[in-house]
């Protein structure tokens, strides 16, 4: 048992460059210490009881179920990532793990060494299509690792939507899960990306979602986190071209003993860029959430606008919410605001609804729906919106 060079052997038939990269990442994993409580990023995020080695059996050696929209325009490449590494090395090799770095921490390294399922989507310059691509990542059994990786390359002025769904067959499964995504947006590209994480309630989940935006491109990213007993997600947008625009939204609903951690970055590397982040979450029972987000406006990034908000609805006295919205502004010609709130259901609203004869439980449910409602409307395509609505319905009960 355990992740070691021998366990790489099951990943047959990959090109040399990829095997080499995996070995490098594994060496990094072995070299890096476990994150300690004295690291700021891990101060409130306890991984001391997680031993990935006990879940070293890999699932999904052959990829995932891909829903191919009918009539994909020609030139679009959509296939399992490992297959694409073989068939299109010229597209995959220069990009894979260049946004999500394997040496970021131990878990990023492990993911880079052992990723299995996952998708590669390439949309050539100028190609647009409306029907979203759906990548479904199933885990069929517990006690193992499911580590899918998505790589999306959006050509100049392309336009499309993509949905990653991480689903467990058994809600009680244990195991190690990840779901990382790299998105390259070429000039003028418009990409909608949604990730819905609803793994089982006893897994450890780590994800890095990072996009790089070239000139005049637009990203609308939406993260939904529902599953896992432990879930740590980084959502990062690197605004590398003037006129680029990143909208980063998330909703999360933590209940039972769930622990969710979100670290976000809006990195304005050049001027005339815009980012807008809104993370909204509800906490029930004895769950805990940590949100820590940073807006960074670099030295020469004049005339940039950045917004960041984290809103937490705390529905129980045993739940714990942490919110750390940070700014690093190295330039004065910017507009930048951020805010965070942590609070219960508004008692005035509750009172109002109850005075209309609505029972307390129903009134609370309506207020929770209302809390999520304005973000739900921002999910960039209907299919995903309906899916998330249904999920929330079942949580709110």
């Amino acid at each position: 048992m355990g992740f070691n060079p021998e366990s790489l052997a099951v990943l047959q038939g990959e090109p040399d460059w990829l095997q080499q990269r995996r070995r490098g990442a594994l060496a990094t994993y072995e070299r890096l210490p476990s994150p300690s409580k004295t690291d700021e990023e891990w101060r409130r995020t306890d991984v001391s009881r997680f031993d990935p080695g006990q879940f070293s059996t890999l699932e999904h050696l052959d990829g995932l179920k891909l829903e191919r929209p009918s009539g994909l325009p020609s030139g679009v490449i959509l296939k399992p990532l490992r297959q694409a590494a073989k068939d299109h090395p010229e597209l995959v090799e220069p990009r894979l793990f260049t946004l999500v770095h394997a040496d970021r921490d131990r878990f990023a390294a492990l993911h880079a060494a052992f990723f299995t399922g996952g998708t590669f989507l390439y949309v050539p310059d100028g190609v647009e299509f409306d029907q979203p691509v759906l990548g479904q990542h199933f885990s069929h059994e517990g006690g193992n690792s499911v580590l899918p990786h998505t790589l999306i390359v959006a050509g100049k002025n392309s336009r499309f939507n993509y949905l990653d769904e991480y689903v467990a067959e058994d809600d009680a499964e244990t195991g190690y899960r990840s779901g990382s995504t790299e998105i390259f947006l070429g000039e003028g590209a418009q990409v909608g990306y949604v990730a819905v994480q609803k793994w089982g309630r006893n897994v450890w989940h780590f994800a890095d979602q990072r996009a790089e935006l070239q000139k005049d491109s637009t990203l609308r990213l939406f993260n939904v986190t529902l599953g896992g007993k432990f879930s740590k997600t980084r959502v990062e947008a690197s605004l590398a071209g003037e006129g680029s625009n990143a909208e980063l939204k998330a909703i999360y609903f933590a209940s039972g003993e769930q622990f969710f951690d979100f670290h976000t970055l809006q990195d304005h590397r050049v001027g005339n860029t815009r980012s807008d982040l809104l993370f909204k979450g509800a906490l029930q029972d004895v769950s805990r959430t940590v949100y820590a987000g940073l807006i960074r406006i670099e030295k020469h990034a004049q005339r940039s606008d950045a917004y960041q908000a984290n809103r937490n609805l705390v529905l129980s006295d045993k739940a714990k919410a942490t919110s750390i919205p940070m700014l690093e502004i190295d330039n004065n010609d910017v507009r930048c605001t951020h805010g965070a709130t942590v609070g219960p259901v508004d008692p005035d609203h509750l009172f109002y609804l109850r005075s209309r004869g609505i029972p307390e439980a129903t009134a609370k449910r309506m207020l929770i729906q209302g809390f999520f409602g304005d973000v739900l409307d921002r999910i960039p395509f209907e299919h995903a919106r309906k899916l998330v609505e249904a999920e929330l319905e079942s949580r709110i009960g």
């Binding site: 004049q302 714990k320 750390i324 940070m326 700014l327 690093e328 507009r335 951020h338 805010g339 942590v342």
Partner: protein
Amino acid sequence: MATVPKVEVGTDYKEKYGFFVPEEYVFKAKRGLNPDIVKEISWMKQEPEWMTKMRLRSLEIFRKKPMPTWGADLSVIDFENIFYYLKASDKQSKTWEDLPPDIKATYDRLGVPEAERKFLAGVSAQYESEVVYHSLQEELTKKGVIFTDTDSALRDHPDLFKEYFGTVIPPADNKFSALNTAVWSGGSFIYVPKGVRVDIPLQAYFRINAENMGQFERTLIICDEGSFVHYIEGCTAPIYTTDSLHSAVVEIIVKKNARCRYTTIQNWSTNVFNLVTKRAMAYGDATMEWVDGNLGSQITMKYPSVYLMEPGAKGDVLSVAFAGKGQHQDAGGKMIHVAPNTTSTITSKSISKGGGRTSYRGHIKIYPGANNCKSFVKCDALLLDDESRSDTYPYNDVDAENVTLGHEATVSKVSDEQLFYLMSRGIARAEAETMIVNGFIEPFTKELPLEYAVELNRLIQLEMEGSVG
């Protein structure tokens, strides 16, 4: 000048280390830090054994603790190149006239006597490491108020002192509280008895005046039930060519229904490292207010905090920071809600100019069971040019029910519209900018006694002029 117990510092001391005159030092410890220096300080002060032990233990903690890796860059501090104790005069002066002339001249420039004439209750002015001048209005003494320097308090009020010293900020709290506990000297000690209101602010002037000199004052304020006191600390320092370290610890206990306000205008010269730990405990229905202005120093790291221990306690921090060229103000506040029905606000206003950097760093913590708390943090940053930088690092931890916590921050520049408007009225650009900045920090200035408000506006004006061009 009379002498205190003589300490042999070596005959070549002066040649080797270059004593600075005209200041006349009765005793100046060697540079650097080791158990012998600490023992010497404690012996000089004729302290009880428990304090000597506590100092030595704190030194050990200081050595063990790593430098903070967050906040400002402190790697340039050379702890071995600092004097840890100086005593400028061997006796406590009772009246202004008793002060040695050179010290008096310094205070004259700082305006101490004038301030006293106006409304001082007492003066506890610090010159070098020891409080040398101290007076307290008779009226206050009659009320049982103790306002003295901390060294005298240890000697004259040993029980009261021992009961509270180090209980709000233990030596191990952080590297610099450990350092302070090892080598502390001077500072103010205030005790306000039950139900006593001190109607006029108590003030102390602090000053650094020697090259490579560390100043480690220690302040302890106890507001007994239902009492009120306003303490004002203002700092100025002449400019020297090498770095100085100022690392104070301020502990405050505000008991039931009492209120304490602590006002600081920090204007150290821009070669001073100002690393200060300030913390208060507020009990049932008590109010603690920190009014904290940081204009000077090369680096300041200071986050006044309030532990809200019992229901009804209230904490306020009002913080203003100005960072000009080469300065980094890393300031903010912390509110620790331990009990239910406690409230807090933090308002931070920061201004960066000429490549200066301001950081707001704060922590709101609501402990389990501290239900029905309210906390609101507002940070506004003004960046006056392209070279300057502003950061905001607010940490919010909510572990209780029915808590309302809000944080808002904005970063902006002086708007062209405002400037245009003022300049179209014939006001010069620099002056217009000063007016806008003074308007920006008005919520702070209006909380200050009038003469401080005037002084602050003048300081802002000087800062603005100094870095123009």
